[in-house]
Amino acid sequence: MYAQMVKSTGQGVKSLDEMDPQERAFQERINAGDKIEPKDWMPAGYRKTLIRQIGQHAHSEIVGQLPEGNWITRAPTLERKAILLAKVQDEAGHGLYLYCAAETLGVTRDELTEMLLDGRMKYSSIFNYPTLTWADMGAVGWLVDGAAIMNQVPLQRTSYGPYARAMVRICKEESFHQRQGFDIMMKMANGTTAQKRMAQDALNRFWGPSLMMFGPSDGDSVHSAQSMAWKIKMNGNDELRQLFVDQTAPQAEYLGLTIPDETLNWNDEKGGYDFAQPDWDEFFDVLKGNGPEAANRMEARNKAWDDGAWVRDGMMAHADKKRAAKLAAE
């Protein structure tokens, strides 16, 4: 997902009896469905895990602008150009909402940005893959945003108020993203021979990486268990992956495209599809920074940040001068 393999305390979930009264009251509020707000008391681990998770989510939105931004200048019609630009702009907005949510926990956006740029914080593995044809704009919207929505919709009910509110806003905007992706795929799948080939090729390349977005099976992960107890992770990785496959397989069929998995088959008994796991070795390689476009993504973000420093400083210096002049006049 946009936040993958976020580590929590690593200490396992305490039972209510093992908690001190403050922590116990906190957990009981969460169990009752209360929202935790910035000024409320919270365990240090909850704060730290949330900063990691929201930060990683925000970074994913920002780095996620790049693979699609790659095609804004090459969008094939004026309308497609406007739609794609609006979509990538939304991603910047989502990053902004999420950084603001993280800032309520006592970290600044600049601090988070620097942790991304020097590699201390991660972003979703999916954005390390290249976008090679226009059909990839369809596949990213349809599959990547489709997978993201699976995770983001339940996060609207997450226990941390500012995070939940950011997710409400994000989900509202996100729905158009997936639909515009599917709309591109329909045009491609029903288009010329070359367009159909592009559409199938995009599905072939993005299927595995999309399944990886949910992260490896978290059956016995102490981090996942703690995050679920705190309601900052709402569902298991396998559960969401299954939902995604069940939703996507009929859509691929509708498009007349073939999901690159020979084992994909409807299983009546479990009421869902059987499917092959993606290549988890590849996933861990990407997580280590060896994604096909990883170096380029980080270079682009670093360059934008470094090249922009004089602008941020210049605007601030002018504002400081204005403030000083106003004070002097009073």
């Binding site: 707000e37 000024k39 939304d90 902004l96 489709g146 409400v168 158009f176 515009q180 400083d313």
Partner: protein
């Protein structure tokens, strides 16, 4: 490395329907004027007929908050921002 981060501002917007200003989120800006302009771009996507307040976050005095989530509608002239702009055939199912 930026020397000084732009301050954080809390943004409140009153829509065209006469309700009072509501908190919609926050953003960074070097001063109040730019905070208002950034709010127009970030939180209204430039919808007209709205009134924006920007308050530097450090100036807010807060009790323990209990506020509930809320939404703000993006500009309605960008029709493709709305999911219904894209005609997905019924037989595809929910999206």
């Amino acid at each position: 490395m930026t020397k000084q981060e732009w301050p954080l501002w809390e943004i409140f917007i009153r829509g065209a329907h006469g309700l009072s200003h509501r908190h919609v989120g926050s953003l960074h800006a070097p001063d109040a004027e730019m905070a208002i302009k950034n709010a127009r771009d970030v939180y209204t996507r430039r919808k007209e007929g709205v009134s924006i307040w920007a308050v530097e976050s450090s100036a807010i005095v807060a009790s323990s908050p209990e506020d509930k989530g809320h939404l703000y509608d993006p500009a309605d002239d960008k029709v493709y921002r709305h999911p219904t702009f894209f005609d997905i055939p019924d037989d595809v199912g929910a999206m």
